[in-house]
Subunit: 208 residues, 3 copies
């Protein structure tokens, strides 16, 4: 078997930490862009690079899964957690791409507010996922998961308010189509954070 040559559990947590760090970085870039009023090429490149490094970390986790004999928790949960953390960065990258593709400019506070909630949720994901390494304080991890769920509801209400306002104010249907999708995507980041929190919860549930 030769499994003494195989890593035990060290690598997975290091790689999850990387994935989470990329998500935090992406949320910070999104916040900067929201404050700028438009996406310039430099921001597009920065976000694209974060997304690319996130992909590498994800693939590395999946490759390690195939070579590692003992894993810290169920192999399928590691796989699920890795692919969903990847999704968090992917959706933020999608938002930035679309803002650019749709040639959008903005002056109002809408994106700034959403970017703040997204950053908050990603920070809770960071606490939850980094908490899995030592599994010392289950209560704190669960609290972060509950907060991610709460923020998803906040995001729902925020999107609904922004859409009501959009339909009230904007008479150009093409602009409605574009902004409606952006607000929806912002809410999707919070949905995917909730998916991550659900996986973390189900990992805790199995270890209970």
């Amino acid at each position: 078997m030769g499994f003494r040559f195989l890593p035990r559990e060290f690598n997975f947590f290091d790689l999850f930490d990387k994935q989470v760090d990329y998500a935090v970085e992406a949320a910070a870039v999104l916040k900067e862009i929201a404050a700028m009023g438009a996406v310039d090429a430099a921001f597009l490149t920065r976000m694209g690079e974060i997304e690319h490094r996130g992909d590498d970390a994800t693939h590395s986790i999946i490759e390690h899964l195939n070579k590692t004999f003992i894993t810290p928790f169920d192999r399928e949960d590691i796989h699920k957690l890795a692919t969903q953390l990847d999704d968090v960065v992917d959706v933020m990258n999608t938002i930035v791409s679309r803002l650019r593709i749709y040639k959008l400019k903005w002056s109002e506070q809408s994106l700034t507010e959403f970017a703040a909630v997204i950053e908050h949720s990603v920070r809770q994901i960071e606490l939850a996922v980094k908490g899995l390494r030592k599994m010392k304080d289950v209560k704190t991890i669960m609290d972060s998961c509950v907060e991610v769920n709460r923020l998803e509801n906040v995001g729902d209400a925020m999107r609904d308010r922004l859409l009501a306002d959009l339909f009230e104010r904007e008479k150009d249907p093409i602009a409605v189509i574009k902004w409606k999708e952006i607000y929806q995507d912002c809410e999707t980041v919070l949905d995917v954070c909730e998916d991550v929190a659900n996986v973390v919860e189900s990992i805790l549930v199995k270890q209970a």
Copy 2:
């Protein structure tokens, strides 16, 4: 271990029953709204309350999972079933919110027809989920799951017909955007019911 102080299996089925009852109630409210031609504040509040009680039941299931030693079926399936039953109510709540946010009024039968199919599907979900408690008549549970799958196809065809009609008749692009999303959401309720049926099927499959 002290697991004699822990509930065995009683609570989960009671809480699943609650979740399913909320889904049935939400489907009934949706049907009433469809017949009204507009969403007034009272309906919005009623649906919001159902959704809120549904959230409480869902969180209660997840908390119990962490404290319960013996579960009636796989912990992850309990988690999945709880979150997806939660989704059924969530999507119906979303529809009602959107009808209100978009300030829609209607006279035609479109929503009434969709609400009837949704109610039918939710009733089959009720049979399937409540059937899990005794697991006595697997054939009947499976039949309900097959019916939920059939109704999802009915919903697909209904949405397609309504969209074809919408694009034919409605020349205001903003109205097209709004109604297209509502019809899509109605179909999503049936998709999520199908997700629930798939979990029920996979629970049966493992017990086979």
Copy 3:
């Protein structure tokens, strides 16, 4: 127990092969339609028939799961693989229905390009899923999964380019609504192929 009367593992692979063959067939029909510039009734019928046969294969897998004592891999992975392969054909069927419902006609190359990427991805899915039967060459199966992931990124970029072009060129908002959805659906086929590849990967991971 009498499990000697129960099929061992033969049927599942045969049925997965069928599902994959239907996906390959659907991708070929989609390619033909893309080259035609409109969907006539005959194409709609052909795609509907493939989808129907795909449904039958999927239900047959789920029924067999309930009667089979020994399965080639985890029962829940068989269930997941079956339902997601079903989705691949479903989304292609949805595209063809919508092209018809929206009464779209086209002369440009957009759909042809997308149909080619879809066909490529479905072929990799075919290699990956058919590879599971003998599980002889894990490296080749993994390579197909990586390629499906790469094609999903290609599809993202293609959809973004087509949307940028659509918003630039098309001034009729109703036409924007219709085509935006079609391009999105084309990209969804590649997403669902990626879901299939992820299940295949997670099956390999567990057998590692």
